[in-house]
């Protein structure tokens, strides 16, 4: 980057929000370690694409990116920066010229990046060399909307917000378009689950029912969770439990029998029984789904779950290099 840009502008170089998009939030890997105090984890809905974006611009995996939802923003760069956009496939325009998805490119000082039409997937991740450098809250920059914590004032981005950028740390990985690590779902995904932790609260055929037909993601679904509509599950010990912890990707089932898939902004605890849990490797695919998309659940073995996660990790580490 040019030294001049720093000298000409007061304060830290920033990314300026020209248009915020539908729901654009600052996310890092999440606020872990405080769930015993009721602090939700938050973090990216598609953690793999978030990590890939950071790798492409030479950031540590813990750097904050922007999570872009369904309708993308328009942003202006104060200074020259290496940038990458991963996850959902949007048409990307840098000062009116097309730039690639899943690849690092350079945005000149004063240039504007506009997200155009969305082709596939629900959430894109924009990483800037140096990371989005807002002050961390309780050790994390991740935005949690309900508790208004983290990110920029705990909220989604608005017009004219200035997002401070950090110092770029190192040269980015070699240029060139990458094969995405998460295959973007085309409005439907097959998602692997493991039974439990409370499968015994349901009728013996519950796991079969869960796998019998696709579930539709309802309209009022968000970063907290996806309300699903499909074959109803039958409780046989009632629909209330003594409240307990709610893991990422768990399928909790209220009295209606329609499961809710808990995602990044889930509360730390809940009072409904949980029939099954999405495997870690498939959280990223789930994060690329939006309202009216569908999910087919499949039970897999622990070995398959771990194997899928290892494959994902290898692909990411190959791009991250030795520093991360």
């Amino acid at each position: 980057m040019t030294e001049d840009a720093h000298h000409l502008r007061p304060g830290a170089p920033a990314l300026v929000v020209v248009k915020p998009g539908m729901l654009t939030t600052i996310q890092d890997e999440g606020r872990w370690g405080l769930q015993a105090h009721g602090v939700p984890v938050a973090g990216p809905m598609d953690p793999v694409s978030h990590r890939l974006a950071n790798a492409l611009v030479g950031n540590d995996r813990g750097a904050a990116t922007l999570e872009v939802t369904l309708v993308g923003p328009e942003l202006e760069f104060d200074d020259e920066r290496i940038v990458a956009v991963t996850g959902a496939a949007f048409d990307l325009w840098l000062d009116g010229k097309s730039v690639p998805h899943n690849a690092a490119f350079t945005a000149a000082a004063g240039s504007r990046l506009r997200f155009g039409e969305r082709r596939l997937g629900a959430r894109a991740y924009l990483a800037v060399a140096g990371g989005i450098n807002v002050a961390p809250t309780l050790g994390s920059r991740a935005t949690h909307l309900i508790s208004a914590m983290g990110g920029l004032e705990g909220r989604a981005l608005r017009v004219a917000d200035r997002l401070p950028l950090g110092q770029p740390m190192r040269s980015p990985a070699a240029a060139g378009q990458r094969t995405p690590i998460v295959a973007l779902p085309d409005r439907h995904a097959r998602i692997r689950i493991r039974p439990g932790p409370q499968a015994e609260y349901f009728s013996p055929d519950a796991l079969e029912v869960l796998q019998s037909a696709p579930y539709v993601i309802a309209q009022h679904s968000d970063r907290m969770g996806f309300r699903l509509e499909g074959p109803p599950l039958t409780h046989h010990r009632g629909a209330d439990i003594i409240s307990d912890a709610t893991p990422l990707g768990v399928l909790q089932v209220p009295a209606s029998g329609q499961p809710i898939l808990l995602m990044a902004d889930r509360q730390t605890t809940g009072g409904y029984p949980k029939v099954a849990t999405v495997i870690s490797a498939d959280i990223a695919v789930a994060g690329q789904l939006g309202p009216s998309d569908t999910i087919t659940f499949t039970v897999c073995t622990p070995r398959e779950a771990l194997g899928a996660l290892i494959a994902q990790e290898r692909a990411l580490m190959a791009l991250e290099g030795p520093w991360s």
Binding site: W32, G33, L34, Q35, A36, H37, G38, V39, P40, V41, T137, L138, I146, S147, A148, M149, I193, R194, G196, P197, I242, S243, D244, A245, P247, L248, G249, V250, Q267, T268, T269, G270, K274, T277, V278, I279, S280, P302, A305, L306, L309, I310, E313
Partner: protein, 237 residues
């Protein structure tokens, strides 16, 4: 104490103790969580005790799952509630009724008591923090006297102001921030159970004891003015 260990997906283990809301079961749960936390095993991301179970979240790529299972089994097997005197209660001032407690009269009708008697019942117990959840710093306190244990609203309020003191069945608690909420609101405290800017962001932790005491509106305003975050407004005795 009886227990079982069940996985939740590939990155969490759940240790369940006996299925009831009970101080001894809860104390055992908290002790087990603390022991696992102290063990500082590689790959553990979070340990979360609740009423009668705890979740251990881990990174499956950085955790030796056999060693984890062995250690968790050992700690569950040996979990005991700590003996000795209970901790001194954290005292929380509450301005009951009026605009701060829009449900106080409904609770009084439910209980066949006067509003003043409901306040007396609510302030005469020392409550246990069974767990935190819902939003940062929200402590589930119990057990509330059965006479005033009115169920929550069937339709939650869209906005419950920060500091509202509510009850739902045998549970009571303070809303740390403005959120939606379905509990019966009987008063408000100037104390903030959670403030990320404070040196100690959380007023309460699981296993603490809590006692409410009544204050009038003048005192409420004075304490709020002085900073609801001030520790002395809710100091340990």
């Amino acid at each position: 104490m009886n227990y079982r260990i069940v996985p939740a997906g590939d990155s969490a283990l759940i240790v369940e103790f006996e299925e009831r809301i009970d101080a001894a079961v809860n104390a055992c749960t908290i002790a087990c969580a603390a022991a696992i936390q102290r063990a500082s095993l590689a790959g553990i991301r979070d340990v979360v005790p609740t009423y009668r179970s705890l979740a251990i979240y881990f990174d499956p790529l950085r955790t030796d799952s056999d060693a984890l299972m062995e250690r968790v089994t050992h700690e569950a097997e040996h979990a005991v509630a700590p003996g000795g005197a209970p901790p001194p209660p954290v005292r929380i001032p509450v301005c009951y009724g009026g605009e701060f407690g829009p449900d106080l009269h409904a609770v009084a009708s439910f209980a066949h008591l006067s509003p003043d008697e409901v306040v007396r019942v609510h302030t005469s117990a020392i409550y246990r923090v069974f767990m935190l959840g819902f939003v940062p710093g929200f402590a589930y306190l119990g057990l509330v006297d059965e006479r005033i244990a009115m169920p929550r609203h069937s339709t939650p309020r869209i906005r419950v102001p920060a500091g509202s003191v509510g009850l739902a069945g045998v549970q009571t608690g303070v809303y740390p921030a403005e959120t939606p909420g379905g509990w019966q609101l009987i008063g408000r405290t100037p104390v903030r159970p959670f403030d990320p800017a404070r040196a100690q962001p959380f007023l309460l932790k699981a296993g603490d004891a809590v006692e409410f005491y009544p204050i009038d509106r003048t005192e409420f305003d004075r304490l709020l003015e002085r900073g609801g975050n001030h520790r002395s407004a809710a100091a340990h005795d």
